[in-house]
Symmetry: C2
Subunit: 339 residues, 2 copies
Amino acid sequence: MAKTLLRVLAGEAVWPPPVWLMRQAGRYLPEYRQVRAGAKDFVELCLTPDLAVEVTLQPLRRYGMDAAILFSDILMLPYALGQGLRFAEGEGPRLPPIRDVAGLAALDPAGVPGRIAPILETLRRLRPLVGEATLIGFAGAPFTVACYMVEGEGGEFPTARTLAYRDPVFFRRLIDLLTTATIDYLAAQIEAGAEAVMLFDSWAGLLAPLPFRRWVIEPAARIATELRRRHPGVPMIGFPRLAGLQLGAYAAATGVQGVGIDTAVEPGLASQAVPPPTALQGNLDPLALLAGGEAMQEATASILAAMRGRPFVFNLGHGVLPPTDPETVATLLRQVRAG
Amino acid sequence: MAKTLLRVLAGEAVWPPPVWLMRQAGRYLPEYRQVRAGAKDFVELCLTPDLAVEVTLQPLRRYGMDAAILFSDILMLPYALGQGLRFAEGEGPRLPPIRDVAGLAALDPAGVPGRIAPILETLRRLRPLVGEATLIGFAGAPFTVACYMVEGEGGEFPTARTLAYRDPVFFRRLIDLLTTATIDYLAAQIEAGAEAVMLFDSWAGLLAPLPFRRWVIEPAARIATELRRRHPGVPMIGFPRLAGLQLGAYAAATGVQGVGIDTAVEPGLASQAVPPPTALQGNLDPLALLAGGEAMQEATASILAAMRGRPFVFNLGHGVLPPTDPETVATLLRQVRAG
């Protein structure tokens, strides 16, 4: 009998639905903060299999989640490509920006296998430890990763998005390079033990329609197509955050087995835009989880009611917020598991 | 013969479409910066009819825009309600936050007419000066205004959105108070000369579906219904920014004559979600306008092609960015007017 999350991604309406949470391994858990305090920095935490395995498993032990998602970061790919990466405490990621074709030449794609080796080692160790949970590998989608690489930091990426208009030759080369690198990176994660992969396009919703097609839908379709060819049967979840009205076009063009829906999406409308057998995954507001109580219960009930009878994975619409009470997460899981 | 923008809001597919730009009176214009430098601060600029009339008319003189939008700010309503408001230079608005029912009691709705008198005077003076352009009044929608009032500043409003879950009694009272005040404020603007009104819900897209219905759709529907009763024939444009899949529900529930669409919306999909005779207004990416050249031309052509044959007002999907070259705006207008 296959794992429940894999059954859902194969198009089956399992009920109650499998559940996991984006950033389920994170700062809201005291056991995570303890491990984190023992690492020099966030990058070291991601690159030390002993530590990354431990924090990946923590939410499984505490809540029995139905998925274990590799503990890593979408910016480990630029790191692996040789772009400097550090996480300034309390300020988010910083990278030396790349803004022209010459900057691209300084990247080192040949060095990727060596730099991602510890991440693959983490997956190899995790696979026999996850039990009935599904082990999910992931990468940032080319557009979102490109935004950080060009801007050098988070935010709304005005420089990156303007450059995509002003220097489409450069931006196209960057997206193509990332698309190829992401295919290889996700394929390597599958070969190391990932049973499903997820592609996070966290900033897709910033784009106007033409750039959305070029920088979000087309690269995701290339990645999904090539992974299906290399690893048929391994499902992919695409998460084009804030895709809005273009959610259906994304699902149709990529052929992914699962589509992540963000907090803003009305589940019934998502279900029309992305019909079965494609699974949907989402989309409780992390602020409703933070608030807990009746607000959380009402929002959760509304999602469950809309998704009953179709392939669905319960999740948040964005990551768990650090001030969330771990007890509230337990309350949420009881409600979801009661269907 | 009615003004072109009013004909479009009455459901007519005028071509080439009327055009105006959000923040068309603003820092990208040297003549605006000159007037702005003469005012003590931004609030004084909004409250001094001599100055507000002048900056409202500047883009009409320079480009012959088809609409003149009152020069003001969505936060003039909290100001009018007696909440302190200042614009910290380069940092955006600051208000002393209101976070409980007691805070609401300190507001002074009875003082609104006195505080908005200069704004109405600006409209009275503008009306005979706008020629063939349509004079548009506006207000922030209750949810967006409430976010600023609770948070005390801009951003993603985590405090306000969490409080909406945690203290729905308080948040409901605040939204109700703002809904009533907004109806009176927009009605007063119409009585002072506004020929159409626009309701800006700039942060609607932050909301999950249940709060979206409660805090965005329902208040907008109340405002639209009551304005239709008080001033039948005066059209309203609703702008639920980043409403995504819920754009159609917003249009249907409010019955507004025009719906503003943000940068991320694919025009063809918007046209299906909001069918004629409701007009659409938008949605060139302000970054495409900033970039100019081929990128702007391609994006503009794509919007025009999708909107030809239906009631449509050309605009941006968000406001003009300060570093925009005024000459690029002239180039854009030539393309739009060539249809």
